[in-house]
C-alpha cells in the first residue's frame, strides 16, 4: 500500500514536502492508521507524531487522513484509505511543529478562556453535593470531550479567527459547565461569551459534528448557548 505522508523538520527543511512510502500490510487484519504509522516509524524512526492510549480516549493522535480529521488509533485503514491510497497530514489550521505534530497552543488557550472548572462558592456539604440523575444526564455528550482538536481544526470560523472564536471544542465545554446543576456562575459565564466573536462566529456548518471521533455534537451545544444568551438579552 502507498502512503503519502506530510514531512517537515524546521531544522532541515525549507518548506514542507509530501513523502511517499510503501508498506506491506499483513493479510486478513484491518489495521488502524496508528498501527501503520508505527510500522512506518520502525522503518524510518524520524517520522514524528503524537500517540499514547492507542484506544481513542487520550486525544493525542488527531490527524488528517485523506482529507478528514480523526484519531489515527481508532480509524481502520479500510475506512481511511481509498483505492489503496492514504494521505496523512497534520490537523489543518494550526502551525506545524514537525511532520504530523501541530502546535496546539491556540486551541488550549480557547479552552482556558471559558473558565473550564466548576464554580460554586457556597460552602460544600460534609458529603457530596446531590445531583439528580436527570440533571446529571444533561452532562452526557459534553463531559466526554478528549480535547483532540479534530473539530476546531475542521471549522472554517476557527481557521479565520483562532484567537477570537472559542471554537467548537471550547464551546462544548463552556456548555458543559452551563448545564451543570451544581454550577453557580451562569451569568458570568454568559457575560464572557456575549461579544460578536466568541460564540456568534459559528456559522452552523457542522463540520465539527461530522468529524468528532467521540460522536459529540458541538453545534447543538453552541445552539443552546446562543439561546441562553438571546433569552438573557430580552
Amino acid at each position: 500500500m502507498k502512503i503519502n505522508i506530510y514531512r517537515f523538520d524546521p531544522d532541515k527543511d525549507e518548506s514542507p514536502r509530501m513523502e511517499e512510502m510503501e508498506i506491506d500490510l499483513p493479510e486478513g487484519r484491518d489495521l488502524m492508521v496508528l498501527d501503520v504509522l508505527e510500522l512506518l516509524k520502525a522503518k524510518d524512526p524520524s517520522i514524528a507524531y503524537r500517540r499514547s492510549c492507542r484506544e481513542g480516549v487520550c486525544g493525542s493522535d488527531g490527524i488528517n487522513m485523506n482529507g478528514r480529521n480523526g484519531l489515527a488509533c481508532i480509524t481502520p485503514i479500510s475506512e481511511a484509505a481509498s483505492r489503496g491510497k492514504l494521505t496523512l497530514r497534520p490537523l489543518p489550521g494550526l502551525p506545524v511543529v514537525r511532520d504530523l505534530v501541530v502546535d496546539m497552543t491556540q486551541f488550549y488557550r480557547q479552552y482556558e478562556k471559558i473558565t473550564p472548572w466548576l464554580v460554586n462558592d457556597t460552602p460544600p456539604p460534609a458529603q457530596e453535593r446531590l445531583q439528580m440523575p436527570e440533571d446529571r444526564e444533561k452532562l452526557n455528550g459534553l463531559y466526554e470531550c478528549i480535547l483532540c482538536a479534530c473539530c476546531s481544526t475542521a471549522c472554517p470560523s476557527f481557521w479565520w479567527n483562532p484567537d477570537k472564536f472559542v471554537g467548537p471544542a471550547g464551546l462544548l465545554q463552556a456548555y458543559r459547565f452551563l448545564a451543570d446543576s451544581r454550577d453557580t456562575a451562569t451569568a458570568e459565564r454568559l457575560a464572557a461569551l456575549e461579544d460578536p466573536f466568541s460564540v456568534f462566529r459559528c456559522r452552523g456548518i457542522m463540520n465539527c459534528v461530522s468529524v468528532c471521533p467521540k460522536g459529540l455534537n458541538p453545534t447543538r451545544a453552541i445552539g443552546k448557548i446562543r439561546s441562553m444568551l438571546l433569552s438573557q438579552g430580552i
Binding site: D9, K41, V101, M104, P116, W117, Q127, E128, Y143
Partner: protein, 593 residues
C-alpha cells in the same frame, strides 16, 4: 559538559496523571511555586483510560458500608504483603477524597437519590468477607479515569499550577550527600536540555506495562520513574508483582473493565459453561483478579478455550439487556466494536488475561517520601524525593491490587505527599546545590545516545524485550524459564548499551524519546526477572509452577531490589507493616473467594 540552563521551583512533580495532578493541586493551592512536568499533555496521561471506578466506603449504595471492611478486603487481596498502616490510612480517608473530587466538579453517575453511584467490583465484600459482595466503586459511567483526570486538570488551571507540558524527564540529580536536588529534563518541542532545580521532586510517572508485548497500558507507560530511581541508587520493592487483568480484548490488549462483571456479566468457556463457579464458588466472577486470571488460563490449558486456536475465553454481557449496557457501559460498547468487532449487546467479547498493573514500585512511607534501606536493615528517608501513584509502592496493593483501588491510591497519596511537602517548606527546607558533575551524571545516557554512530535499532530491541517478558513472566512462571530470561536480559543490556539512535535532530524528536524509554523498560524488566526468580513461593499475582504454595515463614515480606548489587548479592527483604493505628491487625489466612 557546559553548564545547563537552570529553572527553579519549590516543588516539581514529574507526571500529570491522577497522582501528579492531585499533589500539584495541593501545592499550588498553598501558594508554593509548583510545576508539573509531563511528557504528554496532562489529560493524555494514562489515568484517562481508567474505566470502572474508584473505591471508597461512602455508603451510598449500602449505608452500612464501613472503611474497615474495605481495609480487610484490601489486605486480603494483597495476599498479606500490603502494609496495613498505609491501607488503613487509604481506606479511612477514602470517602473524604471522593467528596473532594465531587466538590471539584467530577461528573459522577448518580443514584435515584442524587448520591454518587457505586458498582460492585472484584474482591470487595461486606462484613469482613462474610456479608457477600459490596458495591463500593464510585463511577462516572465507565469513564471514571477520564472524568477524574479532566476534573483535576481543570482545578489545577484554576489554582495556577505551572505546566511544563511535553517535557521529558531524563534522570534525577543527586548530590554528594545522596539528596535529590532536581532533575535533568528535555523540552520535546525544542530539544533543549535543562536542569530543573527543586526543593522537592515528586515522581508520579505511572506504570510500565509496556515491558510486555501485549498490555492494557498506554504506549507511554514505560517505567521512566523506576528507571530514574534505580539509576540514582534507590531500590524498588515487590517489582515481581504484575497484575494480569482477566479481561483484555483478545489480540488487541485493550481493556474491558471489571465493571462489566460488576454489572452482572460473566465469563464462559467454549462450551458456554460459567467456569468461575468451579474455581470460586462464592465470589465467582468477582473473585480477586489473580484468581480469575489463573482460572482462565487453566481453562485454556485444559482445552476449553474458545476460538479457532482455543486461546481465549468469552465475556458474556448480552443478557444484561441493551439499556443497561448502553447506560452503564457506553465506553465498553465502543471499544469492543472497534477492537473486537462485536456488539456486546448481542455477542460475547473474546478476552484473555493481559498485563495491566505494576503493584511494585519505589518504596515510600505514607507521606510519599522515598525510602531506602541502610546497612542495619532499617528504613531511611531519601532527602528531597517523593513518589506517588502507580510508580510508588507505599504499599497498599501488595501482591495483588483490588479493582478501583488504584485511582483511590492516586488521590489519597497525591494529597498526602502535597501536604507533607507544604509542611517541609514551611519548616524551611531549601534548595540543595549539586556539584557540576552531579548534573553531568544525569545527562550521561542522553549523551550516550546522541553520540551513537551505529548499532541495532531501538524498535527491534524493544520487541525482543517485550517478547521475553510476555512469554516468561506471565500468569504462571517457572524457575527454568525465568533463569534463562535473566541471562537473555543481561545480554540485551549489553546490546542496548551499543544500540543506535539514527535521528539526532532537535525538534520534537520522538525517536530520541523512545531510545530513552528503552533504557527504562530494560531496568524494569531486569528487576522484575531477578526478583521473580528469587521469590521462591506463589503469592498473589506471582504464581510459580515449581513453588506452588505461599510460604509465610520465608516470604511474608517485601522484596527489595537495588540495581547495583542484585546480580552479586541477590535480593533483599523488608518487613511488612502489620501494625495499623486504630484497628487490630489482620492476620494472614488462606485466601479463598
Amino acid at each position: 559538559m557546559a553548564r545547563l540552563p537552570t529553572m527553579e521551583f519549590d516543588g516539581v512533580i514529574v507526571g500529570g496523571g491522577g497522582a501528579g495532578m492531585r499533589a500539584a493541586l495541593q501545592l499550588a493551592q498553598s501558594g508554593l511555586k509548583t510545576a508539573v512536568l509531563s511528557k504528554v499533555f496532562p489529560t493524555r496521561s494514562h489515568t484517562v483510560s481508567a474505566q470502572g471506578g474508584i473505591a471508597a466506603a461512602i455508603g451510598s449504595e449500602d449505608p452500612d458500608d464501613d472503611w474497615r471492611w474495605h481495609m480487610y478486603d484490601t489486605v486480603k487481596g494483597s495476599d498479606y504483603i500490603g502494609d496495613q498502616d498505609a491501607i488503613e490510612y487509604m481506606c479511612s480517608v477514602g470517602p473524604e477524597a471522593i467528596y473532594e473530587l465531587e466538590h471539584m466538579g467530577m461528573p459522577f453517575t448518580r443514584t435515584e437519590r442524587g448520591r454518587i453511584y457505586q458498582r460492585p467490583f472484584g474482591g470487595h465484600s461486606k462484613s469482613f468477607g462474610k456479608g457477600g459482595q459490596a458495591s463500593r466503586a464510585c463511577a462516572a459511567e465507565d469513564r471514571t479515569g477520564h472524568a477524574l483526570l479532566h476534573t483535576l486538570y481543570q482545578n489545577n488551571l484554576k489554582a495556577g499550577t505551572t505546566f511544563l507540558n511535553e517535557w521529558f524527564a531524563v534522570d534525577l540529580v543527586v548530590n554528594q550527600d545522596g539528596v535529590v536536588s532536581g532533575l535533568v529534563a528535555l523540552e520535546i518541542e525544542t530539544g533543549q536540555v535543562v536542569f530543573v532545580k527543586s526543593k522537592a521532586t515528586v515522581l508520579a510517572t505511572g506504570g510500565a506495562g509496556r515491558i510486555y508485548a501485549t498490555t492494557t497500558n498506554a504506549l507511554m507507560n514505560t517505567g521512566d520513574g523506576i528507571g530514574m530511581a534505580l539509576r540514582a541508587g534507590m531500590p524498588v520493592q515487590d517489582i515481581e508483582m504484575w497484575q494480569f487483568h482477566p479481561t483484555g480484548i483478545h489480540q488487541a490488549g485493550v481493556l474491558v473493565t471489571e465493571g462489566c462483571r460488576g454489572e452482572g456479566g460473566y465469563l464462559v468457556n467454549k462450551d458456554g459453561e460459567r467456569f468461575m463457579e468451579r474455581y470460586a464458588p462464592t465470589a465467582k466472577d468477582l473473585a480477586g483478579r489473580d484468581v480469575v486470571a489463573r482460572s482462565m488460563i487453566q481453562e485454556i490449558m485444559d482445552g476449553r478455550g474458545a476460538g479457532p486456536d482455543s486461546d481465549h475465553v468469552l465475556l458474556k454481557l448480552d443478557h444484561l439487556g441493551e439499556e443497561t449496557i448502553f447506560k452503564r457501559l457506553p465506553g465498553i460498547t465502543e471499544l469492543s466494536k472497534t477492537f473486537a468487532h462485536v456488539n456486546p449487546a448481542q455477542e460475547p467479547i473474546p478476552v484473555v488475561p493481559t498485563c495491566h498493573y505494576m503493584m511494585g514500585g519505589i518504596p515510600t512511607n505514607v507521606h510519599g517520601q522515598v525510602l531506602t534501606q541502610v546497612a542495619d536493615g532499617n528504613d531511611a528517608v531519601v532527602g528531597g524525593l517523593y513518589a506517588i501513584g502507580e510508580v510508588a509502592c507505599v504499599s497498599v496493593h501488595g501482591a495483588n491490587r483490588l479493582g478501583a483501588n488504584s485511582l483511590l491510591d492516586l488521590v489519597v497519596f497525591g494529597r498526602a505527599a502535597g501536604i507533607h511537602i507544604e509542611d517541609a517548606m514551611r519548616q524551611g527546607v531549601g534548595h540543595r546545590d549539586p556539584a557540576d558533575e552531579d548534573v553531568d551524571n544525569a545527562t550521561a545516557r542522553l549523551a550516550r545516545w546522541n553520540e551513537s554512530t551505529e548499532g541495532e535499532s531501538v524498535a527491534d530491541l524493544k520487541r525482543e524485550l517485550q517478547r521475553i517478558m510476555l512469554v516468561n513472566f506471565n500468569v504462571f512462571r517457572s524457575g527454568d524459564h525465568m533463569r534463562r530470561s535473566i541471562g537473555d536480559l543481561a545480554d540485551l543490556r549489553e546490546r542496548i548499551a551499543r544500540a543506535h539512535l539514527p535521528d539526532k535532530s532537535r525538534v520534537f524528536n520522538t525517536a530520541r524519546l523512545e531510545a530513552l524509554e528503552l533504557d527504562n523498560l530494560l531496568e524494569v524488566a531486569q528487576a522484575t526477572a531477578i526478583v521473580a526468580e528469587a521469590r521462591t513461593e506463589s503469592r498473589g499475582a506471582h504464581a510459580r509452577n515449581d513453588y506452588t504454595e505461599r510460604d509465610d515463614d520465608n516470604w511474608l515480606c517485601h522484596s527489595l531490589y537495588f540495581a547495583a548489587e542484585a546480580a552479586e548479592k541477590g535480593v533483599r527483604k523488608r518487613a511488612v507493616n502489620l501494625t495499623p493505628a486504630t484497628v487490630e491487625p489482620f492476620q494472614p489466612m488462606a485466601r479463598t473467594y
